[in-house]
Amino acid sequence: MPKKVVSGNYAAAYAAKHARVEVVAAYPITPQTSIIEKIAEFIANGEVENLQYVPVESEHSAMAACIGASATGARAFTATSAQGLALMHEMLHWAAGARLPIVMVDVNRAMAPPWSVWDDQTDSLSQRDTGWLQFYAENNQEVYDGVLMAFKIAEHEKVNLPVMVVESAFILSHTYDVVDMPEQEEIDEFLPPRKPLYTLTDFENPFSVGALGTPADYYEFRYKIAKAMEEAKKVIKEVGKEYGERFGRDYSQMIELYKTDDAEIVFMGMGSLMGTVKEAVDMLRSEGYKVGAAKVRWFRPFPKEELYELAKNVEGIAVLDRNFSFGQEGILFNESKGVLYNTDAKPIMKNYIVGLGGRDLTVNDVKTIAKNMREIIQKGKLDREIEWYHLKR
């Protein structure tokens, strides 16, 4: 299996190329830009055929053009970040509502003001209710694998929904690492050409997409998306398992569990910060802490069942949120607590807001959090529900 030393962004670009995308419509935004630059380079070097590159005038148009392309039957790809994703927001609804399996890489970046180009999950999590599936990558390998799997899942006949693959600004996007890339023939076997649900080229049987849905029908359209999201859980697990069998990296778990079997305390979070957390878990274990890590790979659909299985066997869960929903709490914390409310699993849960706007979360930070969690569990009582961990006082 060929290996390449690539940045997270190049991993995304290679995956798009290996997925044989047919239309890329994109607008440059830091730190996403090198994804679309690399794809342009593939075209310039003659490394790809039949790839149309549309250098649009805004992210809103990037998504709109992908929607037009996908509705015409093409495999469409784009990438964005932060303000760009926010500008696309309207069209994210459109892509999901029109049941178009577009794949997009979002490079997690904090929202302005103040201007920031660094890592923060608020941009992608703000798109929670658009009907997109969301996959959070921990490292460059997962960016690559995530994009390839995303197309297969998005285009699955039971799903037909768009997928967002999320990577961290700079921590992954611009950091080089070894990435295994299967041979093109193996990928083609895994990911055959798209068989669209519908295409606008059907002149024998013309129809309209997205017409007015009256109260008599709109509701059912929404239900079908809800159902497809539920179906997507099975598809994600199947595709993740197949990916493991073919390429050696198994993604059949929607929550990746790390040393949780006998863990009393589990750190839960998403994306690149979970690499640090795993490192800290190893160190804490050597110091006698019974800790583990639960990396939520798929935020949408939300892996309720897997979370329940985890929660019923642990005493405390520290939810690390590199995001915040103003007026409430960290978004993953909010979602997780909600899932467990009607179950008999009631671990102590505390929300640590960490690393907003790219501030580092170190192994030592995780160790401090572990100590705090242990005290809470020993007392059987939360000191506070939400802690802004890095806050300067």
Partner: protein, 311 residues
């Protein structure tokens, strides 16, 4: 269906209908006539994109469609981008785009969705040079949301957010010249057209089919509901708009302007003839009418000059 020979001779437009009965346009709707001509021109081998506008409704609610053509309904400001994406996909997949036997990619948007919220996407579509046609059907206001002014609304017009009345709060700005903005992009082809002159419109549609690169047609399409005009006067109004030089017919190709007859070849008819048939101009004073008349003639002289210099 075969027509009797004598009938066939009289037809100057294709006999086939691709715009079905049962659409939900208002009586006397100019836009629906325009859409019917576009479908006739491309014989059902066009892919349509329609943003939020009257035509969203006219085409019919799910599961109906009045168009014998694939149709993608999209968000208000995205026509230019969606047709770009469709064209790119057709090319990636190896379809023939344009030409007699090729696929026409058509964006069909109102003036609000073009002159206002969709202007950026239109600009992107034009400057990138996509092989598609963008048609702006111009009824000079946001008709689908209940007759609010757009930047294509003319000076002096009543709309629901320029309602006239004691304070004389009618539209105070001249009509935005979208076609000039389009031509500034040096597109392959740009033209104005009117539903009162279907042969001229059809010829322009055929032109857009053969020419490489982006094309744009601004189609004048009266709206009796929004213009407060009798429903049987739409064609007459569209004709008067051309004859008064309020909306002259012309085309732009390879840097050259050409005024199309029946635009006035001598003196344009007085604008008042056109204005008095419409309730939307009822708050205009005599002075307002003079302002608008003057503006129309100035623009007309400017167009003639362009045709003379760049003919």
């Amino acid at each position: 269906m075969e027509l009797p020979a004598d009938v066939k001779k009289r037809l100057t437009l294709p006999f086939e209908e691709h715009f079905y009965a049962g659409h939900t346009a208002c009586q006397g709707c100019g836009a629906s006539l325009g859409l019917r001509y576009v479908l006739k021109a491309y014989g059902g081998k066009a892919i349509f994109t329609i943003p939020a506008c009257c035509s969203t409704i006219i085409a019919g609610p799910w599961p109906y469609t009045a168009l014998n053509a694939p149709l993608f309904h999209t968000a208000f400001e995205t026509t230019g981008a969606v047709i770009s994406g469709i064209e790119a996909a057709l090319k990636a997949k190896g379809y023939k785009v344009k030409g007699e036997d090729g696929i026409m990619v058509v964006g069909w948007a109102g003036d609000g969705g073009t002159a206002d919220i969709g202007l950026q996407a239109l600009s992107g579509f034009l400057e990138r040079g996509h092989d598609a046609l963008y048609i702006m059907y111009d009824n000079e206001a946001y008709m689908n949301t209940g007759i609010q002014r757009s930047s294509s609304t003319p000076y002096g017009a009543w709309t629901t957010n320029t309602p006239g009345g004691k304070r004389h709060f009618i539209e105070q700005r001249p009509k935005k010249k979208v076609i000039d903005i389009v031509i500034a992009h040096k597109p392959a082809y740009a033209a104005t057209a009117s539903i009162a002159y279907p042969e001229d419109f059809m010829r322009k549609l055929k032109k857009a089919q053969t020419i490489r690169g982006p094309s744009f047609i601004q189609l004048f399409a009266p709206c009796p509901t929004g213009w407060r005009s009798p429903t049987d006067k739409s064609i007459e109004l569209a004709r008067l708009a051309v004859q008064t030089a309020y909306f002259p017919l012309f085309e732009y190709e390879n840097g050259k302007y050409k005024i199309n007859m029946p635009s006035p070849n001598k003196e344009p008819k007085p604008l008042e003839e056109y204005l008095k048939l419409q309730g939307r101009f009822k708050y205009m004073t005599k002075e307002d009418m003079e302002i608008l008349q003057e503006w129309v003639l100035k623009e007309w002289e400017e167009l003639k000059k362009k045709a003379e210099l760049f003919g």
